[in-house]
């Protein structure tokens, strides 16, 4: 063992160039002890043979050690046959399901009686107590997801897991949506700039998703959670799978609700149902090019989606539809030249375009925006099974992605059909003029004439992750993993503002008539104008991390999982300045007690720290930009006069001080297998995310109320942002999950989770003051800082999730229910200086109440609770067609047609508190899936 360790440490120590944030576990493992049932004595030399259609290179065989123990690692997730044989005896067979990233304990007490049997086949077993790890979360398999109605996006189904809330970029146990790591076949596809997911995957090509919500071991380094996808590989049989899913507004009951929270449907309103349709076509082909040697899997998906908000405040005009086209292509090759080697190549591409992306009833078609995105990513993996005790893994990956955003009229055509000729709006709204500036009307929050800035954004990632797993014995059994994780990232950015300027108008009244249009003598609403020249910049960064993680089984009932990781990351802006140079030490310690010493009752305790050493977002902001000038309307001069500047070479400062952004987490978990293939658990999580990145405005001096800028520290009227990681920028999460998961028989799948959680602190966002967010953060205006402490917008106090399905002779019924209590919101007030609703008068998650200037009137504000129930009914015609599975499905979303508001107006405008968005209404999706 010691020799093996030293053998592998030498090359690793030399290689250390580079840390991504996670070597994702893509496989599972099988382990256990074979003993004599009568004497409990270990049985050495017994042969364990593991076979599966998922296993390239043929069955894997190991012998039990002198203490009867065995272990088979690197098993792709799926169903396996395990055969225990002893010379001169007939074999014993078991059938088990290995889940991604999990260990399956299979200890066998062998008796003479069993030896005398020819074979013994037991019903497929699923062990879900995870007796060797402190990690919380679960694995979502394609098999499970095929049984319920979903949006067929991997980002969305993550919501099924306890402790997960939010949207496509989820909030996992209180962390921000930019704190997760996304892995696809081992490639870290986390966006290098925004730290969100950066790629889409054909849903039917996903084999399983491990959603890790806490208790992470040292190979993972995420401030939030880790979403670890494994895609489908080929097999020794050719298989083809094709599907078509359709939904349309004709299959929906429509959404025509009042604007007040308490209002329901408007039965006498006669308006056309807004467009809402999705057409999703997928084809997947997989099989052997060379049996047991070379497998291929090829998948393709085309998605066409049209959706739009129903007519509502503020403009009361049907907004043009959001139209998206997405093409997802994926190739996976698996090659096993011998039993000792396995090579995997994955290549994906995901180009997509989105028209009219805002959908907020605050702008006409001419002011809508367009986005196109996509890219390609690829990873090569080499698994080398050196011996039963040592295997290595090398992952080399590359990703290129691009996001281009700008006015709809700049990239495509403008849809003005819903308002042209009405007479309500001027002709300027009918045709897109690329040189016309955008106007924002602060009186009603509407946008006019032009979309936002034109940006071209390109990101490149290179990843190199070698690791070695070593198993051995010393004061117990060890399974250790050591690795290096490295990432080099590059980002380039080009931006221009159509018309060169943007206007922030107020005081002229609502709508187009309130805009500042001096050219036609309309100046009542004139307030601010910002002139912004075009610019380009680029940033680069790299990180390197080294980790060591052990799973140390000291006795049959006690394990200690110690681990640690070191990470270093550096980023640099276009000027060659070092924006960040961060080091982090992440200790991990887990203690596992097998309370009943049978692997069925586990108590675990965990502490771990993760560090974020590499983020290009700070570097992207702390970079050279042109000097933007904000001008204020002078009513006497009837012209705009300079107010302040921002950007430019002196528009930012770097702060070399400050701790590395990090998360400290304590997890306590009690898990118990209470029925066959069923587990119940209670998990408590305390998490504190500290030193969150932010931009601090350091030059403006505000009046005592924080309403007007009255002076500047350097005497020059400009904004200067310092990029830092303040100690005061933190968020804290307490949560307790009650979970029950069960797959007692093949026909059933059941998962129930209830989470009670509290999330609070001042760390609501990152860089809001420079990202253009209307909800500026605590570091923009020091007079507002005192209000940035309270329950955070992602604080969902109660969350209940139920996934249940049953199948019988081709018939399938599945349901997913998700109840979330409301999310905190904070009322925003008009700020004279910003020309926008950026001020607060009460802490996060509250409004000042009906009686201003009385702290006892401050009231918590939350959106209403939301309950969604989705249902799938399907029938497989296999019994009629033979050899071919043809499943016809009907998915019902929001079965009870509930209409709870999901967003309300939070600005101090007349429509404050009114509903801005509601649940999608009851709708039907039809699908047909063919697999052969």
């Amino acid at each position: 063992m010691r020799r093996a360790l030293s053998l592998w440490f030498v090359p690793l120590a030399v290689v250390v160039p580079l840390s991504a944030s996670a070597v994702g576990e893509q496989d599972g493992r099988l382990y256990g002890v074979v003993t004599d049932k009568a004497s409990s004595a270990p049985l050495p030399g017994a042969r364990i043979t593991v076979s599966s259609k998922r296993l390239i290179g043929g069955p894997r065989r190991v012998l039990t050690d002198e203490d009867g123990s065995y272990q088979v690692g690197s098993l792709p997730p799926g169903s396996y046959d395990v055969e225990l044989s002893y010379e001169g005896a007939r074999p014993l067979r078991r059938k088990v399901v290995i889940r991604q990233g999990e260990s399956f304990p299979l200890s066998i007490a062998w008796s003479i009686e069993e030896l005398s049997e020819s074979t013994k086949v037991i019903v497929e077993e699923r062990k879900m107590t995870r007796p060797d790890t402190t990690q919380t979360g679960t694995v979502l398999s394609a098999d499970q997801q095929a049984r319920i109605a979903t949006s067929r996006r991997y980002q969305d189904i993550v919501q099924q897991v306890a402790g997960v809330s939010g949207g496509g970029n989820p909030n996992i146990k209180g962390a921000m949506d930019s704190h997760n790591r996304y892995l696809v076949d081992g490639l870290d596809i986390t966006d290098p700039v925004t730290n969100t997911f950066s790629a889409n995957i054909n849903f039917d090509s996903v084999e399983s998703i491990e959603v890790m919500t806490g208790g992470a071991e040292a190979q993972y380094n995420s401030l939030g959670g880790t979403i670890n996808l494994v895609t489908t590989a080929g097999s020794n049989e050719w298989k083809i799978n094709a599907s078509q899913f359709v939904n349309h507004q004709a299959l929906s009951v429509g959404q025509q609700f009042g604007t007040q929270v308490y209002q329901g449907s408007r039965p006498f309103l006669r308006i056309a149902r807004p467009p809402q349709s999705t057409y999703q076509t997928t084809v997947n082909v997989g099989g052997p090019i060379v049996k047991n040697k070379l497998w291929v899997n090829l998948s393709f998906e085309y998605l066409r989606r049209e959706s739009s908000q129903p007519i509502g405040p503020t403009l009361g005009v049907q907004s043009p539809s959001l139209l998206s086209d997405r093409f997802l292509t994926r190739l996976k090759l698996t090659y096993s030249p011998s039993a000792k080697h396995r090579l995997t190549l994955s290549v994906s591409a995901d180009p997509a375009s989105f028209q009219n992306i805002n959908q907020d009833n605050l702008r006409l078609g001419v002011a809508e925006d367009y986005q196109r995105q996509g890219g390609v990513f690829s990873i090569v993996q080499w698994d080398y099974f050196h011996s039963e005790k040592v295997n290595t893994n090398l992952q080399v990956g590359f990703q290129y992605s691009t996001v281009d955003v700008g006015p709809q009229g700049y990239f495509g055509s403008v849809d003005s059909s819903s308002y042209r000729g009405m007479g309500r709006f001027s002709a300027a709204n009918d045709i897109y003029d690329p040189d016309r500036p955008q106007h924002y009307n602060g009186d009603d929050g509407t946008y006019w004439y032009q979309g936002g800035s034109v940006t071209f954004d390109k990101r490149y990632t290179f990843q190199f992750d070698p690791s070695v797993s070593v198993r051995g014995k010393w004061l117990g059994r060890h399974e250790a993993k050591f690795g290096i994780q490295s990432r080099v990232i590059y980002h380039s950015f080009d931006q221009s503002v159509p018309g060169g300027s943007s206007y922030s108008d107020i005081g002229g009244g609502p709508g187009e008539r309130g805009l500042c249009l001096p050219e036609i003598g309309q100046t009542q609403g004139c307030n601010l104008r910002t002139d912004s020249p075009a610019f380009s910049n680029a940033q680069v960064g790299f990180s390197v991390g080294a980790f060591a993680q052990d799973r140390w089984q000291i006795t049959s009932f006690l394990r200690i999982n110690p681990g640690f990781r070191f990470d270093y990351g550096r980023t640099q802006n276009s000027l060659g300045q070092e924006v960040s140079s961060l080091f982090g030490f992440g200790p991990r310690i887990g203690v596992l007690l097998d309370l009943t010493q049978d692997g069925k009752t586990l108590f675990t305790a965990y502490y771990g720290r993760s560090n974020e050493v590499l983020s290009l977002l700070a570097a992207a902001y702390a970079d050279i930009t042109p000097t933007s000038t904000t001008l204020r309307w002078d009513a006497d001069k009837k012209d705009f006069v300079p107010l302040r500047t921002s950007g430019g070479a002196e528009g930012f400062k770097l702060d070399p001080r400050g701790n590395t952004p990090h998360t400290d987490e304590v997890t306590l978990s009690l898990r118990r297998e209470i029925l066959e293939n069923s587990v119940a658990s209670v998990d408590y999580t305390y998490k504190k995310v500290s030193n969150i990145w932010d931009s601090i405005e350091v030059n403006q001096i505000w009046d005592p109320t924080g309403t007007r800028v009255i002076d500047h520290v350097d005497g020059i009227s400009r904004q200067i942002f310092q990029y830092s990681r303040p100690d005061e920028n933190w968020r804290t999460y307490h949560g307790i999950d009650f979970i029950f998961e069960s797959r007692p028989r093949q026909e059933w799948d059941l998962a129930l989770a209830y989470t009670l959680s509290f999330l609070y602190g001042p760390g609501a966002e990152q860089f809001a003051q420079v990202s253009g967010s209307q909800a500026l953060g605590q570091y923009y205006n020091p007079r507002m800082t005192l209000f940035y402490d309270g329950f955070l917008p992602e604080d969902r106090r109660h969350n209940l999730k139920l996934r249940a399905s049953y199948s019988y002779k081709g018939f399938l019924a599945g349901a997913f229910l998700n109840f979330q209590s409301g999310a905190p919101r904070t009322k925003r007030f008009f700020n004279q200086n910003e020309g926008d609703y950026t001020n607060r008068r009460s802490p996060s998650g509250t409004d000042p109440g009906q009686n201003p200037n009385d702290v006892s009137a401050i009231a918590e504000v939350r959106t209403p609770s939301v309950l969604t129930t989705d249902l799938r009914i399907a029938y497989d015609l296999y019994s009629l067609l033979q050899k071919v599975h043809l499943q016809i499905s009907a998915d019902l979303f929001n079965v009870f047609n509930l209409d709870a508001p999901t967003e309300i107006e939070v600005r101090d405008v007349p429509s404050y508190g009114q509903v801005r968005a509601r649940q999608q209404p009851l709708r039907l999706q039809l699908g047909i899936q063919l697999s052969y």
Binding site: I701, P704, I710, F829, F830, Q832
Partner: protein, 383 residues
Amino acid sequence: MFWPLIRLCPVGPKRVEFLMPVTTTSRFRSGALVLVLLLGGLACNPFERRSGSYSAGAVDPIRFPAPYLGEGGDPKRPGSGRFQYVTAYARGLTVAYYPLRLTGEQAKASDPLDLSKLSLPLGYHFDPMQTPDGQDSARCVAPSGYVYDQEARRRDALRQDRQGNIFTALPTESDPPGQTAYVPVVREVTVSSLSNRCQDSKSEEDLIGRDDVSLSRVPPPEGSVGLATTGRPSGRYLLWILIDPAAEVLFPDGMLDKTTQLGPQRFGWFNQYLTGYLDGGVIPIAPLSPPGTTRMATQRILFPVRVWDSSSGQVVPGSLGMGFDLLEFRRGETGYSPICQVFSFEPHDPTLGFEKSIAEVDPLRITDTGEVVYCPQPSAASR
């Protein structure tokens, strides 16, 4: 005995609360300990951090009557209004004052100068005898090493080495508008600093309960409901005109203080909210007030009925606040009052110049308008 005593709340100071002891079995104890640890942690409430006299931000002027919002003021848009002091002359010397007409019930009263008929709130005045006129007290305890510099100006809403005065009522518009009962006069309660941290006290309720300041207290009448102990008025009356604290306040020349970039307004506290006010100083009481009355003593302010308009090159009708007004006394002088009886006068030839002293005006050409206005002059310390 089992003490479920731990309630960890990692926000703010560590907190340990002792609850009632409970007699339990050992099995229950272990389970309960885990549960209490879990739920104790879960019970954290970030709003509990805001205890004591914390700052609740700036006063929202949403219900202020228009005169207290400033010119062009909009209650929905704090800071949109502007107050500009105007130039006047007192015995040949230039002075600044802000003309504020009486409003609401006071304007309609038969004797608007009689304070006994008005409901006047208290105003807690820190160390008035030890502090220069028009300044905030510096006798409080400042943070160690505190320096009021550019960075402090950026960071702190108010100077942390001063203590702002405390108000007990805000201007409130009536419904329908125009009949507000608010009067910008407070009954002074003097507060002596002992060891109070600067700007720590922000409300009457907090101040009354403190033992690091000294003030005379008046308990509520026996048997009263809903009334609390208050400070005992000193007997002086102050003209403290509460305004939109975000409003811009300018000196007569349209300029601001070069150091603070603020005007002559001052800042104080109301009910934990930061508020701004125009300080007119002590209002003298007329020594010959009729029995049962407490009449404010006034000084005279005169304005010429004709003035020379240099921009048009013509003589135009004059009115109060055009920069040619004449006052009897400057602030700090005996006879000064921030309440003015308004007179007009017939000037000499406006094309040749204008009068800068009441003594230059022919008494026979003075006419009493019958109007009374507030005419606060900023203190010498305010600029």
